[in-house]
């Protein structure tokens, strides 16, 4: 093991890996800072490039992008009052209010420091938790994997939007698309409609690039109006003031780190949830809760720490169980598979150097985030002044080029565009997209583990109840579903039959 760890550290400190991490972090910060461009979209666009790089180099670039993108959204949240990504939505409430009264630099400085601290906690969770969980995961059989994946999909449906029915509808669509191709047990073609290009199924990258990249292009171009959000000017920041702020709110920092780490480690939930939970908890614990939303620095620190603590923790279920912690790690998992690496309990024993290199890179990218984040704050005004029509037309071109690069197939480009329009329709119908992508990714695991479990249990469903871990996860799924249905029923009755839609 020590040999593998040593090899991994040397690997990560090689110039090409450091360069790739730096490039990923810079691209991530810029993408996150631009409203409409998200870390998820950046991940989908950059993933095809990594196929042509060494696994550690490629994945290091994606880790840098993940962290940079999660922080980058703060810049636009604070300076123009529009969160660059959903994981920075809570930061906007107090960050923008601070910027309006001339404290934008303090808000951004605290947010960067909080992001780095949160990131460190998440990475520690990954380093300590992953090997421990891997030993448990090795005991998992098909029934356990089936129950865990069903639980993960349910959790995504639970947190995506206000309606469970919409989440499950999206998951159903995702399952349907994933089943196109070849039957995993028998090997016979399925749902190909006689189209030879569909015999290998639909790739995760055309789907992800379409749903997260091309959809955003369509949404932005369709709704564009020439009025421009003018960024608030940010002056240089006082490092000592930021240090004082962080020290003064150390409890909030620790609490938010724990919230982010716990939420990230749960399969299916990510930074979009953790930042609101941390914000709510900070407000509840505060002696002056009435100042939240009016420019309280705690309201900036809490969500930022929690959002970045998710980054490391969300990789635990992805690397150990092959079940993504959130939608960004779902695309990262697609990139790992594209590199010939299968996330799951055997990853650590089959590819120890790559596994530990990922760990080491978590800390390298954390330092990169601190370094480049500092400059990004200074250059924020320029990043935000790129005209949107030019920006999103360029993104459209990159979506096409990135998709084509994966398989040199114009059919895949057409599939990507079709998913772009499907994503657009879903956004207009207020149906969440993340459950579709997660169900698509987990579909094969669900089907295979279910069918293998039935073979193992001589065709009966009792096998799921005879295995304690599987039964536990199925019970958790049932409790989550029942609780949510009751909650929605009560909300529906309280609102005299009206449902909040968005």
């Amino acid at each position: 093991m020590f040999e593998a760890v040593g090899g991994a550290i040397l690997h990560v400190l090689q110039p090409e890996v450091l360069f790739a991490t730096a490039v990923g972090t810079i691209i991530g910060i810029i993408i996150g800072a631009l409203p409409g461009l998200t870390a998820t979209m950046g991940m989908a666009l950059l993933a095809p490039f990594t196929f042509f790089l060494e696994p550690v180099v490629g994945i290091s670039m994606l880790i840098g992008l993940y962290k940079g993108g999660t922080f980058g959204g703060t810049i636009s949240a604070v300076m123009i009052g529009t969160p660059g990504t959903a994981s920075n939505a809570a930061t906007m409430l107090d960050g923008y209010a601070m910027a309006k009264r001339g404290e934008g630099s303090r808000a951004l400085g605290c947010s960067l420091t909080g992001s780095v601290i949160g990131d460190f906690c998440g990475s520690i969770c990954l380093v300590l938790g992953a090997p421990l969980l891997a030993s448990i995961a090795l005991k998992f059989g098909s029934p356990e994997f089936f129950a865990l994946t069903v639980f993960a999909v349910t959790m995504v449906c639970y947190v995506s939007g206000h309606s469970l029915a919409k989440g499950l509808l999206a998951a159903g669509i995702g399952f349907g698309f994933a089943l196109i191709g070849t039957d995993p047990i028998g090997g016979s073609p399925r749902l190909t409609f006689g189209i030879p290009d569909l015999s290998a199924g639909i790739g995760i990258l055309p789907l992800a690039i379409g749903l997260f990249g091309f959809t955003e292009v369509l949404i932005q171009l369709e709704g564009y109006s020439p009025t421009v959000d003018k960024p608030i000017r940010v002056m240089g920041f006082d490092i000592w003031q930021i240090a004082r702020d962080i020290r003064q709110h150390l409890r909030t920092v620790i609490r938010s780190s724990l919230i982010g780490t716990l939420i990230g480690a749960l399969p299916g939930i990510g930074a979009e949830t953790s930042n609101w939970v941390a914000y709510g908890m900070a407000k509840r614990a505060s002696k002056r809760p009435e100042t939240f939303g009016r420019g309280n620095i705690e309201g900036v620190i809490a969500p930022e720490v929690a959002a970045n603590a998710v980054c490391g923790a969300a990789m635990v279920p992805m690397l150990i169980f092959g079940i993504p912690g959130d939608i960004v790690t779902a695309i990262m998992m697609g990139a790992l598979i594209g590199q010939g690496l299968q996330p799951g309990p055997n990853l650590i024993s089959e590819n120890p150097t790559i596994f530990y290199a990922l760990f080491a890179n978590m800390f390298v990218s954390m330092l990169m985030l601190a370094f480049f984040g500092f400059f990004a704050i200074k250059l924020a005004g320029r990043i935000l002044s790129v005209p949107r029509p030019i920006l999103f037309t360029s993104v459209a071109i990159l979506c096409v080029a990135g998709t084509y690069a994966v398989s040199s197939s114009l059919f895949d480009v057409g599939v990507m565009m079709a998913f772009g329009f499907l994503g657009y329709a879903m956004r207009k119908l207020d149906i969440p997209i993340p459950p579709l992508v997660l169900a698509f990714i987990l579909s094969r695991l669900i089907e295979e583990s279910f069918r293998r479990s039935l073979i193992q249990g001589d065709g009966t469903l009792w096998i799921f109840l005879q295995r304690p871990i599987a039964a536990g996860f199925l019970a958790l799924t049932a409790i989550t579903l029942t609780g949510l249905l009751l909650q929605q029923w009560r909300a529906w009755r309280a609102g005299n039959g009206s449902v909040q839609g968005s």
């Binding site: 057409g414 565009m417 449902v499």
Partner: protein, 123 residues
């Protein structure tokens, strides 16, 4: 268990929840984003659909660089962006740069122009 079992489950799940969602549309307190779209929005998305279909169809004939240049000229103008210098400069610069990055950096050839190959065939 037959290979059609899971497709049936997925279809049943999609159909059941689609019906449920359709029924709750009428009980929403705020309007569905689709229902608040103006005529301009519908026109824009329709045009975007046609332009992107044409872009995909012509890519095989005119190649990635040429067809992307045209797309980058048309889309910003379609949505009302009028800084012609920025539009033309980006349209002329970005597609060749992307193509060169893919070729020299990743050894991937983006679609070339078959129309020019046809011309050389006629000569």
């Amino acid at each position: 268990m037959t290979p059609t079992f899971f497709p049936r489950v997925a279809l049943a799940m999609t159909a059941a929840f689609a019906i449920l969602v359709a029924l709750t549309v009428f009980t929403r307190s705020d309007p569905l984003p689709l229902l608040v779209m103006t005529r301009t929005n519908w026109l824009r998305i329709g045009t975007l659909l046609v332009i992107n279909a044409a872009y995909l169809a012509t890519m095989r004939l005119f190649g990635f660089v040429l067809s992307s240049m045209v797309l980058m000229l048309v889309l910003p103008l379609l949505v009302g962006y009028r800084n012609m210098f920025a539009v033309i400069a980006t349209a002329l610069a970005l597609p060749p740069v992307v193509s060169l990055i893919f070729w020299y950096g990743l050894k991937v050839a983006l679609p070339g122009a078959q129309a020019f190959e046809l011309l050389t065939w006629f000569q």
